[in-house]
Symmetry: C2
Subunit: 402 residues, 2 copies
């Protein structure tokens, strides 16, 4: 019986995790849940899963939840709040597996605490590896516990790596859908609208990650994550465009053999893999192999997608640079979405910020958060500079909706 704590239980990965747990009641139990501000959703999860402990973002919400739980006869569930509350969920003594799925740097502290407490961690939070990868992987190694990636690319790599030892790996090939502008000429990039950029060909995702997919920054983040997770230099983590996104990633071994992984594009699969590793258990998530028809591939164009090049630079430098990369990307994507800057200026903001960031090593999560704040501030200044130099444009309707 695997006893699970979930950081980010009401988000997409959190809900998929609970759906996996629901399918295998004899294998998994839910011990603790950390959520944000979605009180209705966490209340429903409390009723369904009856965890020992719940954490919510604010103390005020915590009080409201306590009242509702009491009314439902669930006063035995302890309610805590804030980042300290999330840390308590992450380190709950009865939990042996922690799913890290709080979005953004908010998830860093609790995830690091889970690793330090000797939990096996399933990682869905990008920032844990992009911004704090060196710290977190070093700690996991000290603890002798695996970090199991819960996203289709790194999970695919993790599976393919079973075909040999790490010393036998030549390189990793991360596949990229290429996003909606794969075939758009570079000279048109300056006039790409928010609506166009939000149309992703293969995946339905949140707004920031959709833009990150369109700039290939998302793939750049994955390069950094792969470097940290698997201990490889950026030169040995390569990107191949594969518009169908069927093959999730590949590993090339020193003898010349390449293993590739594919499956249905359902997040429950990498979650199930992580929760049961080193075992595999039967699921109904079957890829219809007999229906396989065409797979296409092409090399990435770093000229047209400078974000990918910037991510490689940041991965190579390490320390504060990847933190600044992530912070600047978040700020500049938001600025693009609210109409302050153009699509092709996203990478300009990021390049300016990381070039003025020192590559200094980071010794603690506190230092990561400080570097993140500095990166954001620098990015806001760069955005203001660019926005000031061009007429503001109206925010498109699709953006106002959120």
């Amino acid at each position: 019986m695997r006893r699970i704590a979930i950081l980010g239980s009401t988000g997409s990965i959190g809900r998929s995790t609970l759906s996996v747990v629901e399918s295998y009641p004899e294998r998994f139990a839910v011990v603790a849940l950390a959520a944000g501000r979605n009180l209705d959703s966490i209340f429903e999860q409390a009723k369904r899963w009856k965890p020992r402990l719940i954490s919510v973002a604010s103390g005020n919400d915590g009080e409201k939840l306590r009242v509702r739980l009491r009314a439902a006869g669930l006063e035995a569930i302890e309610v805590v709040s804030g980042s300290e509350g999330a840390v308590r969920v992450a380190t709950h003594p009865e939990a042996d597996f922690v799913v890290s799925a709080i979005v953004g740097v908010a998830g860093l502290e609790a995830t690091y605490a889970a690793v330090r407490a000797g939990k096996t961690v399933g990682l869905a939070n990008k920032e844990c590896l992009v911004a704090a990868g060196e710290l977190i992987t070093a700690e996991a190694q000290r603890q002798g516990k695996p970090l199991l990636p819960i996203d289709s690319e790194h999970n695919a790599v993790h599976q393919c790596l079973r075909g040999g030892r790490m010393a036998e790996v030549e390189c990793i090939w991360l596949t990229a859908s290429g996003g909606p502008f794969w075939k758009t000429p570079k000279q048109e990039f300056s006039s790409i609208s928010v609506e166009q950029a939000l149309q992703h060909p293969t995946w339905k995702m949140g707004r920031r990650i959709t833009i990150d997919s369109a700039t290939l920054m998302n793939k750049g983040f994955e390069v950094i994550e792969a470097c940290r997770l698997f201990g490889l230099p950026p030169s040995r983590v390569k990107v191949l465009v594969h518009p169908q996104s069927t093959i999730h990633s590949m590993v090339e071994f020193v003898d010349g053999s390449i293993l590739a992984q594919f499956s249905v594009t359902d997040m429950r699969l990498p979650i199930l893999y992580a929760l049961t590793f080193p075992e595999r258990i039967a699921s109904d998530m079957r890829f219809p192999v007999m229906n396989l028809r065409h797979l296409e591939f092409s090399p990435p164009d770093m000229e047209k997608f400078p974000c990918l090049r910037l991510a490689y630079m940041a991965a190579e430098a390490g320390g504060s640079k990847p933190v600044a990369l992530n912070a600047a990307d978040e700020v500049s994507v938001a600025a693009f979405l609210d109409g302050s800057i153009r699509f092709d200026q996203i990478s300009q903001v990021i390049e300016a910020v990381i070039s003025e960031t020192d590559a200094g090593q980071l010794e603690s999560i506190g230092q990561v958060l400080e570097a993140d704040a500095r990166g954001r501030q620098a990015a806001r200044e760069k955005v203001a500079e660019l926005a000031g130099s061009r007429p503001p444009r109206p925010t498109p309707a699709i953006v106002r909706g959120e």
Copy 2:
């Protein structure tokens, strides 16, 4: 240092094995070689590799080789001959790895002897698993030694299987190029000429295997081999047509994950894999992943390619049926090549032979050889019957050449 004996050293796999050995002199040594009738070639190999023991097909050739070795100052190399000689090579006390690459049922006895002597065996001989698979795999299991497949499909499966335990395997997907008649309408099959059938789209191979690829019987044999090698029922060994032959094969796990293997199409790669397993060592056989462009797939058509259906039937029945399948195929392909029967009659001969073969279990290599002889005889009779019912046609020039 791995000490190697090669059964079939002057054939294609044998020569590729020696080429691998040549690239890694610090890892491999050649202890014993068994060849057929190519005296010049085995003499050159003797000079180059100075093995302890050489076996040739006939005693007469053995005497000639002894004379030549003496003249070259190599009288220390012992020369033996015949099937007993091949068994002595296969069981040489200094060898720890035996490459089984004698073509046809001639390789059975020596390979079985190698397994019984506790050697690790690299299998390139198809008949070992098609005709005697149940015997040989049972013996390898008793010895606790792996049987390592040296052909691109099963080697790919072996690699993919490392992604989980055997109990976690849902099924195996063998890829098939589809051969030259993949898109030919069924009604044209009766008029396919020998020249057309010898044009294989992807691989340059011997004549029988080229025809076996055109009828998909080769894939049928591989289905049987996979069943025996990996202990799976035929229903869990599936075939997918993949004209580029880039992906060599795949394994689907119970959780829904699929691992696929690909590499350059160079036999030295599966040989190197087998010789170094469970390690992988660096080679210069690099697949240019960045140049990957299109991969196509489609389901196989058992209606158009009855040989594949017959192989599944034989695999299911086991015992004498796969032996008869192989024997009847060899006879009927030869009859097609010499103009005695039509392309579409190859499967008719085989179907007639296996339907009149008992499925009785085989207890020894001797019984396998008897079943093989019965299958050949039955096939010859069926060929004569079909050939008698139609006018003979002239043997095409391309056939007379061999």
